[in-house]
Structures are given as structure tokens and as C-alpha cells.
Amino acid sequence: MSLKNQDLEQIAYLARINIDKDKFPSLKKELESILELVAKMDSVNTESVVPMSHPLDLSQPLRKDKVTEKDDRKNLQKNAPSIKAGLFMVPKVIEVED
């Protein structure tokens, strides 16, 4: 399984991790060797197998609709890189995605 530079660029963007172009060759090699390891699964027939998302065969517990948390803003914002008027500040967002 070989990765193209374009693939790497695309995954890096999806993951929002900047990768310097000069690191591409070594990174590609490393990722390809992992994909080679992973390719061992290809030889197994899994057509009728039910995928396993959880090791437990249980169902989701439910919580009652009650307000149990109170305002803890001061504590929770202690680690924030940039706060103004109680808001988390980031560089201006240009596209309004909603």
C-alpha cells in the first residue's frame, strides 16, 4: 500500500497537523510500513462477521434529566490560553459554518 504525497497532505489537513514537506519522505515510509502490517487482515474472510465496537455485550445506562452541575467557569478556564469576557478567544473565524 503506497501513499502519495497528496494522500499525506489530505490526511494531515483532516487531522489539522502541519507537516513540513521535507518530513514527507520519512513519514510516508513509516506510515507505509504500518499499513503493510495492517494488510495482514486482507487474507481473512469476514463477510458474515458482526463487527465488534465494544468488548462488552451490554446496553447503555441512562441518566435522569436533572441539572447537577453548577457554574464552575473560573476553575474550568484556569488553563485557557486566551479568555476575554468569559469567552474562549481564537483568531477570527471567517466562514460561518453554524
Binding site: N18, L31, L37, K40, V49, N79, S82, V90
Partner: protein
């Protein structure tokens, strides 16, 4: 006077109850050892001297008034993956190198509630990804048994500190072997319980369906004490099992005669070093003498474990680590030019290379066009592995194998090829995939480096593996030796 750090948890509890020594003495002796020895080992990221002494004093008061808690006054350490309120919780990463947690994990609270004294937060592979503790932002951890050798990972700091006598026991987490493998490389007992036995609330997530908290201790008995405190249903964790926690301390004394141990033929047909095979064979003889039956078993899909793991774990981690974006907490790059730049550079600079590799693989495995071939395929293969175990446990109680393919290795020896490093977990990963409990116990030494054997049992049967480990330790001495440090 016996070196206090060499006493077992049981002996320590007795000593504290009988006022042979105080928790303060105990704690201060550990803090002294940490100051003296940890410079070279680097097992702690944060030492909580003041807090520890304060807790110790409070424990002593409770002993004096006859209201001692289950693990009162016992000095332990927490892997720096467990959120601890008011304390740096870094997960071994630059990304959280300034993160003072605003809340405590259930595990930390459980130990607090039983009176344990927390000496500090231990070093670890960044975001729990690694098998040698070489990826930590806070520097490598050294194996106390041999200079410039790795302690294993990702709970390398916990392993090193307990094996060097810098804590009575330490918590760890195990996603693909991160408790068991370092325990084996450092001559310790390390247990990963059934998935869901220990709450994951406040345990910084790597791969949600594989992560499980556990302990590293000198002995199975010590592990029983700590696991009892650590376990239990937590409504804050939807994947937490709502079942009673057995009294593991009582359980370990039950009989092991008649238990059936399976040896997967797939594991025993690899070209393992002779000394590894030898240590296993010798151990089997010990078990047989104790009345345990040894049977060959077949786990036909077991060699898919590594490929499965290296799709699922990166996939889940790629999503779990998306929250590290420089917006609400953690590292932020300097002078971000715009939002994109904020994300791209924060995550480039905040994460180390192994973490980035896994995020990229995970993103790829989930991306459009690849989901079926990778992620879905891996989840299906996972079912096959789990089914193999289910089938096998119809005819045996436990499965035995070496914990790691070899003894510890030199720092830097395996860092050039990620897949080489991944092979460290070949024996430990299957238990995580199936959610089964597993334990590693010391079973030999080679050229001064410890060897470990692994026992895996069916879901919720921690008692069986603890029992086997305890009886093994009553009949062997490997777990009793200490590295030469002083």
C-alpha cells in the same frame, strides 16, 4: 531496621496499625529515596512532597483514633494520565505540559477515599502510546535494572518507580500491554483487569474501547489490595461494569489445584530467544507441581491481533486527540495567524512524532473510501479474536504465554522503526481486543534483566489470575529481588 520500602503493602498496613512506624515516616523515607535516586531514573514528572506529607499526617491521625481507611497511609504513585485536581496532569506530552487538572479522576478519588498517600505523578509514553517510555516530553525513563535500558511502556514511569522502591505501588493504564509489558521488563507484577472493571472517568483517553486502568506492584498480593480500591462501578463512565467487586485480597488465597492452563500453539511456535522459552518451561513445571493442568490450545486468529490493534487504536485516538486544539486548554502555538494556523501549528508542535503517526494512520483508516477496508475490517477481525478466546475458555481457565518477546532493550534500539517497537505488544494486545483481564508476573532473569510470564483469564475472572500469580510467588523468588541502586 528493615528498609521500609521493601515491605509489602500488607506488612506496611500491619506496621501502621501496630504503630511500628508512622505513615509520615514511611512517606518521608520514600520522598528521600526519590530525591536520591530519581534523578537518574526519571520515573516521576511531578513529586507532591507537601501534599504527601499532609496526607500522611492525616492518615496517622486516623490510625490513632482507630478509624483507619483500607489503604490508609500507604504511599503510592499515579500514572500522569489520571486527572488529579489542582495538580499537573501532563499525559507525558508537551500538549498538556501546563495543564493543571480542574477535576480528579474516579481512580484518584477512589485511592483518596481509601487513605492512600500520593507521592507524585509518574512519567509515561506520550498519550500512552509506546512500549519503552522513550516518547515522553519529560524525557526517557530508565530501567532501574540496567542503566540506559528501557523500562517498557507506556506505564514506564510507574514500573520504574515501583521496581526502584520509590513507591509501594503505582497505577497504570493498559491499552495494548502498557501495564503488563513494563511490569515484565522491570520485574514487577502488573495487572490489567476486565474492560469496565476500573472507571475511565478522568483517565485521559487514548483508545476508548481498549483502555483500562490497573496497577503495578511488587507482588500479586499487593496488586490485589490496590485493585480492590481502584475498581468499581462508576455512573460517570457508561462503559463501567455494574457488578460487585470481589474481595481480591481474600480471593488470592483460594486453591489453584485443578485449574487448567492453555498454551496457545501460535505463541509457542514463534522463534523466541531460548532464555524466554526456558523461563516459561520452568514456570510451567512450578504450576504443574501445584496441581495445575497444562493443555495446548488453538487461537487461530491471534496473529491478526497486531494489525487489528494498529487500526483500531489509532482510529479511536485520532478522534480522542482532536480536542487538543489550543482553544480551551493546553499548549497553543505562538502568534497564530488565523484559525487554521492555530490548529496546524499547535498540533504540530504540541504532539510528538509517535502520537502524530498514530493520529495520521487513524485518520486514514477512517477516511472516505478506506473505512470498510480498514476500520470495519479490523472490528470484524476483532470479533474473530474474541470468539477464539470464548471458545478456548470452554476448555481452559487461563491462557499462559511470555509477556514480552524478550527482555528489556537499550534506549534508542528500536526507535528507528515504529513497527519493530509495536512487536513488543504481540502477546499482550489480544487481551485488550477481547476486553479480558491479564497479569504479568516475574518468572526469570537473563543477564540481569527480568522476564515476565502472562496469564489471561475470561471476563471478570481476575480472581483466577491473581490466585495463580500469588501461588506462583509463594513458590518462586523472582519477584523478591531488587535492582542494585543504592
Amino acid at each position: 531496621m528493615t528498609e521500609l520500602h521493601k515491605l509489602s503493602i500488607k506488612e506496611k498496613l500491619k506496621g501502621l496499625k501496630d504503630s511500628t512506624f508512622s505513615s509520615q515516616e514511611l512517606t518521608e523515607s520514600y520522598l528521600k529515596r526519590i530525591k536520591k535516586l530519581d534523578n537518574k531514573i526519571n520515573s516521576f514528572i511531578t513529586v507532591l512532597e507537601e501534599r504527601a506529607v499532609k496526607s500522611a499526617k492525616e492518615a496517622d491521625q486516623r490510625y490513632a483514633s482507630g478509624s483507619a481507611l483500607p489503604l490508609d497511609g500507604i504511599p503510592i504513585a499515579h500514572k500522569d494520565i489520571f486527572c488529579t485536581e489542582g495538580v499537573l496532569t501532563s499525559c507525558g506530552s508537551r500538549m498538556l505540559s501546563n495543564f493543571i487538572s480542574p477535576y480528579s479522576s474516579t481512580v484518584v478519588k477512589n485511592f483518596e477515599g481509601s487513605g492512600s498517600v500520593v507521592l507524585g505523578k509518574t512519567n509515561m509514553d506520550e498519550f500512552a502510546m509506546g512500549s519503552s517510555n522513550e516518547t515522553s516530553y519529560f524525557g526517557e525513563v530508565k530501567n532501574p535494572w540496567k542503566e540506559d535500558y528501557v523500562p517498557g511502556g507506556s506505564s514506564g514511569g510507574s514500573a520504574a518507580c515501583v521496581s526502584a522502591g520509590l513507591a509501594s505501588g503505582a497505577t497504570g493504564t493498559d491499552t495494548g500491554g502498557s501495564i503488563r509489558q513494563p511490569a515484565a521488563l522491570c520485574g514487577l507484577t502488573g495487572i490489567k483487569p476486565t474492560y469496565g472493571r476500573v472507571s475511565r472517568y478522568g483517565m485521559i483517553a487514548f483508545a476508548s474501547s481498549l483502555d483500562q486502568g490497573g496497577v503495578l506492584t511488587k507482588t500479586a498480593e499487593d496488586a490485589a489490595y490496590m485493585l480492590k480500591t481502584m475498581s468499581g462501578h462508576d455512573p460517570k463512565d457508561s462503559t463501567s461494569l455494574n457488578v460487585e467487586v470481589p474481595d481480591f485480597v481474600k480471593e488470592i488465597n483460594k486453591e489453584i489445584k485443578g485449574l487448567r492452563v492453555g498454551l496457545p500453539k501460535q505463541f509457542f511456535s514463534m522463534n523466541l530467544p531460548e532464555y524466554v522459552e526456558r523461563s516459561i518451561n520452568e514456570s510451567l513445571k512450578v504450576f504443574e507441581k501445584l496441581g495445575v493442568k497444562i493443555i495446548d490450545v488453538d487461537l487461530p486468529h491471534i496473529d491478526l491481533s497486531l494489525p487489528i490493534y494498529y487500526v483500531i487504536a489509532p482510529a479511536e485516538c485520532s478522534a480522542n486527540l482532536s480536542r487538543y486544539d489550543g482553544v480551551k486548554f493546553g499548549y497553543r502555538c505562538e502568534d497564530p495567524k488565523n484559525l487554521e494556523d492555530l490548529y496546524m501549528r499547535t498540533r504540530e508542535e504540541g504532539f510528538g512524532s509517535e502520537v502524530k503517526r498514530r493520529i495520521l494512520i487513524g485518520t486514514y483508516a477512517l477516511s472516505a473510501g478506506y473505512y470498510d477496508a480498514y476500520y470495519l475490517k479490523a472490528q470484524k477481525c476483532r470479533r474473530l479474536v474474541a470468539n477464539d478466546f470464548k471458545e478456548t475458555f470452554k476448555s481452559v481457565d487461563l491462557i499462559l504465554s511470555p509477556t514480552a518477546p524478550d527482555t528489556s532493550f537499550a534506549l534508542g534500539a528500536k526507535t528507528s522503526d515504529p513497527v519493530e517497537m509495536y512487536k513488543q505488544d504481540i502477546f499482550t494486545i489480544p487481551a485488550n481486543l477481547a476486553g479480558l483481564p491479564g497479569i504479568s508476573v516475574p518468572c526469570g532473569q537473563h543477564q540481569g534483566l527480568p522476564l515476565g510470564l502472562q496469564l489471561v483469564s475470561d471476563n471478570l475472572e481476575e480472581s483466577k489470575i491473581l490466585r495463580m500469580a500469588h501461588h506462583f510467588q509463594l513458590n518462586t523468588d523472582w519477584h523478591k529481588s531488587w535492582p542494585e541502586l543504592d
